[in-house]
């Protein structure tokens, strides 16, 4: 009896050991694949960009004010595309940040539970609308609307897609900010009310400062979403690289250019083909920069409550 039991126990242990190791390696492989894909993307971008930069000097790339890779006399200055990207993102953030934060303040601090439980899922549903729909919304609805206000607004301009991208990322900015505000401990709100503060004072003086890190993260994530957004600008901004800070002018963003070229039939290995990798690399660097910034902000404003 005792002997039989011993054997059983020993066998069981070995069996579990093998299972544990198998599961661990499968999980590790899954985790590693994400890292591998990211590395592969960076490698491809770097290799193709190296090809591009062997034809075009980095100085020209960064200082030339024209981007005409498809013309007979090709010029490769990234500034017009960068400018379009920044401009579209700036317009988008001007819309998304105030609206998003106000939505978050309302949902987190003012809305009755029932309203919050209805509105938040609805808001998150907006994130599921395909971006191409937003593109047509910008071109066929918002632009004509804006033309009523600004009569000589061209049919393609940055303002309209910028506003629409802003609307598009409101749920995103709102949802991240709301999570940050709801994470502020109830004890801090109670302390504020007990001091005789109103709901608005509590929100503005206690909850929002305590949620700064999360709101800053929402802001930066919004920038990342806006700079990476493709369809809306490709459809409604005009795809014309244009070095201007006037949002009423047509322009092209980095993403819109990549779409434009990727859809054409440029021969593999040509400079035009390689130029989209250089543009993609710039986009990647921008996103990386903002991620680092988000990290720094988060560290600086981290509050110990």
């Amino acid at each position: 009896m005792a002997v039989a039991r011993q054997t059983l126990i020993r066998r069981g242990v070995r069996h579990r050991d093998v299972m544990e190791r198998t599961v661990e390696s499968v999980l590790f492989a899954c985790a590693a694949s994400a890292v591998a894909v990211t590395t592969a993307i960076v490698v491809v971008l770097l290799v193709e960009s190296a090809g591009f930069f062997s034809h075009v000097s980095i100085v020209d790339f960064l200082t030339d004010t024209m981007w005409t890779p498809l013309f007979a006399e090709a010029r490769y200055g990234i500034l017009p595309l960068l400018c379009g990207t920044v401009l579209a993102a700036a317009v988008a953030l001007t819309v998304a940040v105030p609206v998003g934060v106000m939505v978050a303040v309302y949902l987190s601090e003012f809305a009755p539970v029932k309203v919050r439980e209805t509105v938040k899922p609805l808001l998150e549903m907006l994130e599921g609308v395909p971006t191409v729909v937003y593109g047509y919304f910008a071109l066929l609805f918002v632009t004509p609307l804006l033309q009523n206000i600004i009569p000589d607004l061209p049919g393609f301009n940055v303002l309209s897609p910028g506003i629409v991208i802003g609307i598009m990322i409101v749920p995103y900015v709102g949802s991240v900010s709301e999570d940050a505000m709801r994470a502020v401990p109830q004890a801090l709100r109670e302390a504020s009310y007990a001091c005789g503060a109103t709901r608005l004072q509590t929100t503005l003086r206690v909850v929002m400062p305590a949620a700064t890190s999360g709101i800053a993260a929402a802001f930066v994530l919004g920038i990342a979403r806006a700079t990476g957004e493709t369809m809306v600008v490709a459809i409604a901004a005009g795809q014309q690289p244009n070095l201007t800070f006037d949002p009423t002018q047509p322009a092209a963003t980095i993403t819109a250019y990549i779409v434009q070229v990727a859809l054409g039939d440029l021969p593999h290995g040509s400079i035009g083909y390689q130029s989209i990798f250089a543009a993609g690399l710039v986009l990647l660097l921008i996103t990386l920069l903002f991620n680092i910034l988000a990290h720094v902000l988060r560290m600086r404003f981290r509050e110990a409550y």
Partner: protein, 276 residues
């Protein structure tokens, strides 16, 4: 707390230290108070008088309603939906029922401040923590703010420790200092009543002793209501003690009498540790 601040709302002159036998004024009178969370009745027909410039302790086992009663005084329950007050808590000298729906809870909180169970300083500087209640009342004058912040920090026995680092975050202080900062925050607005909800339950014995000394010294100038789980604490700091059980006020009287000669069997059982 030294009488440094001008006091627009409180009445009378500071009475002698607690423990004296002089006649006390009634600061607040609870009359047939019932309180409901939804359909559940948490307080049942409470009647009691709170004496001015004395420390009154509320004791009883968990769930007896002592914290619920305390939070009626600054209308904290208004923040929770589906709560209902019935009856009266009259505040003197105005003789106004502070739990009446017609009374603005913010006005009540302007005169009755609170210190919580866990120290909960704002993620702001030490100075701004104390100045908060004044700022929300619209005080902007720098000289006035400086004076009141200093007086409140002295009142909370924290001034000497923090006077050279008022700009540092309040959250960087130790637990006991944070709780004294919260007491300073509660004192800065010159309240008539200060509510303490188990103020030492998150603190070590040394910090607890300093908070208890502070509460005893405060009683000269404000009325203190304190909820505590700790019967020794009630005996040490309070002049009057109320024993509550299952939402009812079982016994209420001078602390020394209740601890030596309780009138009710249930009080006696609780005090001797038979339940709770």
């Amino acid at each position: 707390m030294k009488g440094v601040m001008s006091n627009p709302v409180s009445v009378g002159v500071p009475s002698p230290q607690s423990g004296s036998t002089t006649q006390r004024n009634v600061k607040s009178s609870i009359r047939d108070l019932n309180f409901f969370y939804g359909d559940a009745q948490a307080l049942k027909h409470i009647d009691m008088e709170i004496y001015e410039h004395a420390v009154t302790a509320l004791i009883g086992p968990s769930g007896c309603g002592k914290s619920t009663l305390l939070r009626c005084f600054n209308r904290m329950h208004d923040l929770t939906p589906h709560t209902r007050y019935e009856g009266e808590i009259r505040l003197f000298p105005d003789d106004v029922n502070i739990v009446s729906p017609e009374v603005d809870p913010i006005e009540v909180r302007m005169r009755i401040s609170m210190v919580f169970q866990k120290p909960n300083p704002f993620p702001k500087s030490i100075y701004e923590n104390v100045a908060y209640g004044l700022r929300v009342r619209g005080v902007r004058n720098k000289t006035e703010l400086d004076g009141r912040v200093e007086a409140a920090l002295r009142g909370a026995a924290l001034w000497e420790e923090v006077k050279d680092r008022l700009g540092e975050p309040g959250t960087a202080l130790s637990g006991g200092q944070q709780q004294r900062l919260c007491i300073a925050r509660a004192l800065a607005t010159d309240p008539e009543i200060v509510l303490f909800d188990e103020p030492t339950s998150a603190l070590d014995p040394i910090a607890t002793a300093s908070i208890e000394d502070l509460i005893i010294s405060m009683a000269g100038s404000v009325t203190v209501l304190i909820v505590t789980h700790n019967m020794q604490q009630a005996a040490r700091v309070s002049t009057y003690t109320a024993f509550m059980y299952l939402g009812e006020l079982i016994e209420y009287g001078p602390t020394n009498e209740m601890f030596t000669r309780p009138r009710e069997q249930r009080t006696s059982d609780y005090l001797t540790g038979r339940f709770g």
